[in-house]
C-alpha cells in the first residue's frame, strides 16, 4: 500500500520533512506508525498521538486504504 504521510511539530523536526510517500505492506495505523517511528526515531509513544486520515480525525484502529493521507498528531499547543 502507498500512503502520503504528513508531519507536524516535533515529528516534522525528527523526520526532517513535512510530508513523504511511503510504501508499506499494512492497512493498520499502529503498524504504519511503528515503522515510521523506527525509521525516524520519533520519541512519541502512540498513546500520546492522535491519528488523522484524509483531513479528519480517526481512531487508531482505522483500516487504511491505498492512497490515504495519514498524519500522526502530537499533543496540540495552540492559543
Amino acid at each position: 500500500m502507498n500512503y502520503r504521510i504528513l508531519y507536524f511539530a516535533a515529528l516534522r523536526d525528527a523526520a526532517g520533512c513535512d510530508s513523504e510517500q511511503v510504501a508499506i505492506d499494512t492497512t493498520d495505523a499502529r503498524q504504519l506508525y511503528a515503522e515510521l517511528r523506527e525509521r525516524h526515531g520519533f520519541a512519541f509513544a502512540p498513546a500520546h498521538l492522535r491519528v488523522a486520515v484524509n483531513g479528519e480525525f480517526a481512531r487508531w484502529d482505522r483500516v487504511l486504504n491505498d492512497g490515504d493521507e495519514v498524519a500522526f498528531l502530537p499533543p496540540v499547543s495552540g492559543g
Binding site: F8, A10, S77, G78
Partner: protein, 148 residues
C-alpha cells in the same frame, strides 16, 4: 460564511469585530492571546505556530458550531496566527456577540478553551538562552526531550 481563520499575517481584529455587530446584539466579549515575554519564569524571545491547516479549519468550524448550539449567541469570529511571532504579537483572537452578556462571556470562554485543546496547532517557543522546543498542551516551558 467562514468564522474560523488561520492567518500568516498579523491579525486585524478590528475587521473581524465589525462583522460581529448586529442590531440585536447588546453584548460582545472578545479574547486576545498575545506572546508573553516570560513563560513560568523562562525568558521568551519569540515563537512560531505550525498548523495542520485543513484539519484546524474544520475542527475550528466544528467548535464554533458547538458554541452556536450551546449558547444563545448571535455571531462568532475566531482567528489564529501561524508562522513566526514576536513578543507582544496577537496570536489568537476570539469574538462573540449575543443579546446578553451571560452567553457572550460563556461562549467566548468555551471557544478559547476548546481551540487550545482540540485544534491541531503547535507552538514552538524560543528562549533567550538559545534553547527552543514544542510546547505541551499544559503550556509549560520546554524542560527536556519529549518523553516516549
Amino acid at each position: 460564511m467562514k468564522v474560523f481563520f488561520l492567518s500568516e499575517s498579523p491579525i486585524d481584529a478590528a475587521v473581524l469585530a465589525r462583522d460581529l455587530a448586529h442590531t440585536g446584539a447588546g453584548a460582545c466579549v472578545t479574547f486576545e492571546g498575545r506572546v508573553r515575554d516570560r513563560n513560568a519564569g523562562r525568558a521568551v524571545c519569540g515563537l512560531a505556530y505550525q498548523a495542520y491547516a485543513a484539519l484546524a479549519e474544520a475542527e475550528g468550524a466544528r467548535i464554533v458550531a458547538e458554541a452556536m448550539q450551546q449558547f444563545p449567541i448571535v455571531d462568532v469570529r475566531c482567528i489564529h496566527r501561524v508562522g513566526a511571532l514576536e513578543i507582544g504579537d496577537l496570536a489568537v483572537w476570539v469574538g462573540v456577540s449575543a443579546a446578553h452578556r451571560d452567553a457572550a462571556f460563556a461562549a467566548c470562554r468555551y471557544l478559547i478553551d476548546e481551540i487550545k485543546q482540540r485544534v491541531p496547532i503547535w507552538k514552538k517557543e524560543s528562549y533567550v538562552d538559545g534553547e527552543s522546543g514544542w510546547l505541551h498542551p499544559d503550556n509549560s516551558p520546554v524542560q527536556s526531550e519529549v518523553g516516549g
